[in-house]
Symmetry: C2
Amino acid sequence: NINKVRGIAHDTNVAKITVVRVPDQPGVAAAIFVPLAEAGISVDTIVQNASIENCTDLTFTVTRDDLPRAIEVTEKVTQRIGAERCVSAVGLAKISVVGTGMQSTPGYAAKMFRSMKDAEINIQMITTSEIKITCIISEGRVEDAVRVLHKEFGLARGE
Amino acid sequence: NINKVRGIAHDTNVAKITVVRVPDQPGVAAAIFVPLAEAGISVDTIVQNASIENCTDLTFTVTRDDLPRAIEVTEKVTQRIGAERCVSAVGLAKISVVGTGMQSTPGYAAKMFRSMKDAEINIQMITTSEIKITCIISEGRVEDAVRVLHKEFGLARGE
Ligand SMILES: C[C@@H](O)[C@H](N)C(=O)O
Ligand SMILES: C[C@@H](O)[C@H](N)C(=O)O
């Protein structure tokens, strides 16, 4: 049973903006991210879930320093595309289990989420790729998350 | 201006399940993914956006073959955690722009989303990592998406 997890990554310079109830039609994602790129704002994570009744939310993360300008740009777009409103938050952190080939073996996400549950850490957002399972959590819980995930995945501190 | 995009990846064996209106509290993600892992079901992409009013949706993708069993497991969990319902869909595809260091340079997501807009392809879900910007779209549009993204990012066919 090869442990495919190579390490735990975390980032505490995380602020998020959610554009709430965007119309789910072609061109909306472009309408939000083209102005941000033109303003020179680097977007880290982007999350959009499947829409229900033709509306969905679109969330992205930026550094704390970029948040004020990102909010300014996004508020204008929110009006223009007819989304309901945009909300933002700071005090977040990104925690990731990093590995290879995790998707072909069930259980890594389950294991990560069960550790978070045992530590009573609320998972605010989830996004995955073949090599990473990433959760957004409260910044205040990131040390606990790093510690429990190292323990759960049998990693030495610093991996 | 180095083109950091290495290629376009796509996958047409994509079915999704969304657990609608899950309570946003510790343990809910574990409650969904532990039973799936125990049933030996490989989950590919997981997406959860930030909650509004303490509820959010949790979506994951599986292969078409695994969908019936995944639905069976998930429907039981949906009841148990007090989520509103679970919905599923087939006929989807995953399309990704693959590159390195994209997040430190604004514009790659904007470029991808603008190509989708120009081709009038609706983006149903978005998830990102440092090396990939992934969109879930209709399976029927995947050939168009692959073609326009190759063109937009200056890639030869097959990259
Ligand atoms: C919501 C947004 O992603 C929209 N579906 C688009 O294609 O741009
Ligand atoms: C919704 C789900 O992710 C929940 N917040 C949890 O921590 O399990």
